[in-house]
Each structure stands twice: as C-alpha cells, then as structure tokens.
Amino acid sequence: MTDAPGDRPGRTSGPRQEEEATGMSKEQIGRFLARQGILIAFVLFIIGFTLANNRFLAPDNIMGVIRSSAILGVMALGVTFVVISGNLDLSVGSMMSFSAIVVLDLHDAIGPGLAIPAMFAMTLALGAFNGFLVGYLKLNSLIVTLGMLSAIHGLTLTYSGGKNMDIADKEGTWFGVFGQGTILGIPVPILIFALLAAILGTVLAKTPFGRKVYAVGGNGVAATFSGIRRARVVFFCYLMSSLCVATAGLMQASRSLGSQNTVGQGLELEVLAAIILGGASLMGGSGTIFKTVIGVLILGFIQNGLLLVGLQFYVQYVVTWIIIILAVWLDIAAKRGRLLSAIA
C-alpha cells in the first residue's frame, strides 16, 4: 500500500495537504512517503526502465552500471563526511585528476608498488591542507575548496607539463587490476566501492568519531561546548575525503592505464548531486553512507536506463536536474508542512 500513492515526488505533495487536516496517522504516512520519496522514485524508475527494455535488469547490465558508478561513488563516500560536518569540498574533481596523473607518472618512474603509496601520501597532504584551512583556520569551506580546485588543477598541469600521461608498458604490469580485474567474477572496482562503503558506513554510524561528525555538523557551537574538538573533526573529514579521492584516482588510472589532466573535471558537482539526491542536507548534520550509495546508484541507473531506451547521454543532465529539485523540495515541504515556501 505504501508504494501506491506516493509514486512520484511531485504528486505526493498534493494529497499531503489534505492528510494534514484528517489526522495524525495519515500525516505520518505522508511524512514517511516524503522522507522515503527518493527510494520510491528509484524503485519506480527501475520498474519503468525494465518495462521499456528488459535488458535493464539483466545481471551483467546491473554489474556494468555499478562498475561505472564506482569511481564517482568512492569519491562521494568521502565527501559525505565533509558534507555531514557542515562543509563542502569542491576540490575533489581536480584532486582526482592529480592523483591519477601522479600515480601514472610514478608508475613508470619507481614502479607500481612504490607509486601507489607515494600518490596516496601526496593526495592526503592536499586533503590535510584543505582540512587545516577549513578546520583550524576556520575559513569558508566553499571558497577554500574553490581555490584549491583551481590550485590543484594548476599543480596537475605543472606536474604533467600539460601532456596526457600513459603507462609505457601496458601489457607487462599488474597495475590494471584495480580498474579492470575481477575476483570471483565480480569486478574489482565494485569490490573496492562496497568494501569502502561498508567500512566508512561503520565508522560514521558506529564509532565515536562518526557521532562527533554529526554533532559538529548539526550544531558546531554546541559540539564545542560539549568538549568536541571541532577543528580536529573537520580536519579528519577532509582527510577522509582525500583518502577516497586517492582511491578513486587509483581506480581511474588503473582502468585506462592512461589519463588526461582534466579527467576529474566537473565530478565535484556530480558528487554533490549524488549526495543531495541521497537526502543529506548541505547545512550539515544529516545524511548517511547508505543514502549516498543510493544517490550514486540512482544517478548511475538513470544514466544507463536513458541510454538503453535510446536517448542520448545528455538527456540525463536534464532528468537529474528535475529529480534533484523535486527531491530536495519534497524533503523541505515535508519538514515545513506545506508545499510552497512562506517567502512573500
């Protein structure tokens, strides 16, 4: 029954206003539908696309979608921490380009075994710099990471001299395993994504650190007065973000064994779109790893579904736009109890 009336985000809002008048239980149902609206919309999308093209739910297609979302997904996991702590990270896109370029360059110079830890160290240093500026110096995260977006892009171009980076001997290296390999028939990128999601989900939901992240994002002043070191928490959120970015860069580099300087350009905003779709608030204090994974998968499946029914890739941009606005609108409307904002 729960699925039936709330099938589309836009439509649930209509009946909702009547429910308010009639009683508490219906309102609770409405609120539940509004909260879970994105999940319901997701299910309906899947049903719709399956009816349109029966290959949509074929195991290999699903596997393909998750695999191609894995890089975006891994980045989104880290940014989720930053967003819950009440900040933004716009530098992840160019940071990912940086780590892909660096690991490919070092691969030929010092071999993959040393290149990977070296790249992780360099990317973590960038994340630490972000964390220092936002956490300890308390600068505005939007502008700091905007500056870092530009600065890291410049750093990448300086490092590579503007050239594409390629591995010289593509046959004789095991480096491709992170992007192309399979274990027990499951592609390694999916395994990395799932493993990281499980670990970070546990960290966020079950550890004191995770609770501190929520506290800092929910009310920074209250968190400080209750003895949480806000600066340190924010610092580690950015470190977490750069750790995930380094992993994503490794997957990207390993998938194609070569990279452009701009491979991650624009991903920072797609990552945010996925997190918003999952239902996290950009004001901080809410969101979970599970929701972010759902947001990433929604983006991936919409993209894939639209391609399967024969539409061009760019149609997904327009669909994503509509879905983001509706999802957030619905969430806000449920909280304030009326559809339109009270602004005159």
């Binding site: 500026l133 110096l137 308390k138 600068l139 505005n140 939007l142 502008i143 700091v144 905007l146 500056g147 870092m148 977006l149 530009s150 600065a151 890291i152 892009h153 410049g154 750093l155 171009l157 300086t158 503007g162 920074g220 002043v221 400080t224 806000r230 350009q265 624009g266 905003l269 945010l272 779109a273 918003i276 950009l282 061009q312 760019y314 149609v315 997904q316 941009y317 327009v318 669909v319 994503t320 736009w321 509509i322 983001i324 606005i325 957030v328 609108w329 806000i332 409307a333 304030r336 339109l340 904002s341 009270a342 602004i343 005159a344």
Partner: protein, 333 residues
C-alpha cells in the same frame, strides 16, 4: 580618525592596492624575464586587457548582486553557452532570412530573452520552493547544460556574420566594444545597487532575511529580479563573446561560475550576503586578468595561472578574516 577606519580603508581599497602591486611587480619582473621587449604597461596591452576581461567581468558583476542578496548562481556557465547557441543559430533561421543585417538585433534580443527566462526560472524555483539557491542552481547547471547538448548534439554551433564581427572588434573613442559593455554594465548595476530601492532592499535581504521579511520587504520578487538580471548578464556576456568568435562548443562556459565567484570574492564581497561592492568586483576582474597576462608576460606557463589564482583566493580569505577578527571577539570554537 575613528577606530576601525584604517581597517575599513584597507579592506575597501585592498583590491586596488593589489592591482597596483601586480602592475609594479610585472613591470619590474618583465624587465628581466620577459622575452618581448615591449613594456608590460603598454597602452595597447592595457586596452586588450579590458577587452579580454569583459565576458567574465559582466558575469562577475551580476554574481555580485546575487551574492549581496545572499544567494549564489552556479548555472551562469551553462546559461552563457545556451544563449550563445541561440544567438548564433537564430541568425540562420529561415524566418529571418529577409532581414539582412537587421537579423543581428533580433538575434541579440532572442539571446538576451533566453538568458532572462533561464534566470527567471532559477529565481522562481528559489522563491517558491524555498530550496537553497546553491542546490537549485547546481541542478540547473546540469539541466541547462543538458539543454545545450540537446540543441545541437555534440556538434559546435557556428555562424559567422562579418558585420557583427566588425562591430565586436571595433573601437569607439579608443575602447573596444566589449570594454564598453563592461563599463556600461558596471555603471548601471552600481546605480541599481546604490541609488535605488531595489538595491537597498537587496542588501537588506542578504544581511538578514528574517528582518527584511518583518520589515515588509517582499523577499521573493527581489530575489527573482536579481536572478533575471544575472541571466540577462550571462546572455549579454555570450553576446559580447560570440559576436566575435562565431562558434559555440557545447562545453563552453564550464567553470565560468567558478571564475566569476573568484573575482567577486577577490573584490571582498561576502558569501553570506548583505555586503559587497560592484566596483570592487570590477577591480577583482581586472586583477585576475592582469595576473593572467602578467604571468604570461614574464614567461610562466598558463598552468601557473590556476595555481596562483587559487592560492591568492585562499590568502585573501585568510587576510580578510584576520582584518575582521578585531572587535568581534569571536567565540573560540
């Protein structure tokens, strides 16, 4: 001298001081490092600088009023590209075939109208749904980009009209056409923000939205008007830029919003709204363009520009906070 005057002066004049510093630095460094024997402070070079900064500058001026209003617009790059496509494509529409060169003002009007509509759509969503402008325009950044692609696939849209190109490259009273557009836009919006009721209300809304509502200011329409203005300006920027270049790539205008925001922040406008200055943004635009040209002049690669601008942005934020910290006695959190 009243307390605080010095820091206020430092903040207000900082961007101009920075520009002077840049000029001195690049002139001196250019003497030793530059490969060309022309001076950096060459008059033609400076004219070119204003011309080149016009497209971003026009958008940045618009971004200033959006940010003073307490909002942000991430969709300007996509609006820019879409209006560029409308401008160039409409010139080859069969219904305008009989117009001759009169098609130019028609195409301009269509492009500007498109910009106003796209801006109005953003503004309406922000107003009516109450969703934060960051999210709304993040969404429409994707959506409008999708429309750009849907218009002509992945093909570039091209149309060269030589009358138009001549106009765009012309110089009136020594200044290039794009420069005039930038100056007129700066003057008009300065007047709007400092001498009209709309401007005063926009400041009030950005400073404290609750208080503005309680004071009887209609917050929604003001925000929507500001979004229409920035849509119009993004379109105007496209008109200025594509009249000369004559070809739109569907990926054009990416990262435009970020450059515009950088210029605005360099000019000292706060993200939180309620304060800011059109003229300082103009300074920010000039400072960025000066940096680009200057680094090129002393032989640094284009890639260094991104690095330097990013670091300067962070440094400005840091200095601004240090200047502000006195007197506020902020809670140490």
């Amino acid at each position: 001298m009243a307390p605080g005057t010095l820091s206020k002066f430092l903040k207000g004049g900082a961007i101009w001081g920075f520009i002077v510093l840049e000029l001195i630095f690049f002139s001196v460094a250019g003497e030793f490092l530059s490969l060309s024997d022309k001076a950096f402070m060459d008059f033609d070079n400076m004219l070119l600088l204003f011309k080149q900064s016009a497209p971003i500058g026009i958008v940045a001026i618009g971004m200033t009023i959006i940010m003073i209003n307490g909002n942000i617009d991430l969709s300007v790059g996509a609006t820019f590209a879409l209006c560029g496509i409308v401008l160039l494509d409409s010139m080859s529409w069969p219904i305008f075939a009989g117009l001759g060169n009169w098609v130019i003002p028609v195409a301009w009007a269509l492009a500007l109208l498109t910009g106003i509509l796209l801006g109005a759509l953003n503004g309406l969503i922000v107003w009516k749904t109450g969703v934060d402008a960051f999210i709304v325009t993040l969404g429409s950044m994707l959506g409008y980009r999708g429309l750009v692609f849907m218009y002509n696939g992945e093909q570039p849209t091209s149309h060269l009209n030589w009358t138009l190109v001549d106009f765009a490259e012309a110089q009136f009273f020594g200044l290039h056409t794009p420069t005039w557009f930038l100056i007129v836009v700066t003057a008009a919006l300065w007047y709007l923000m400092n001498r009209t009721v709309h401007g005063r209300n926009a400041f009030a809304i950005g400073d404290n939205r609750e208080a503005a509502i309680n004071a009887g200011i209609r917050v929604g329409p003001h925000m929507m008007i500001n979004f229409m203005i920035i849509g119009f300006l993004a379109a105007l920027s496209a008109v200025v830029f594509y009249s000369e270049s004559g070809s739109v790539n569907p990926n054009d205008g990416q990262l435009y919003e970020l450059w515009a925001i950088t210029a605005v922040v360099l000019g000292g406008t706060k993200l939180s709204g309620g304060s800011g200055s059109i003229l300082a943004t103009f300074g920010g635009v000039v400072a960025i363009q000066l940096l680009r040209k200057g680094l090129g002049h002393i032989g640094a690669g284009t890639e260094t520009v991104n690095l330097v601008i990013g670091l300067i942005l962070i440094a400005v934020l840091f200095l601004d906070r240090q200047l502000n910290i006195k007197g506020k006695e902020a809670l140490r959190v």
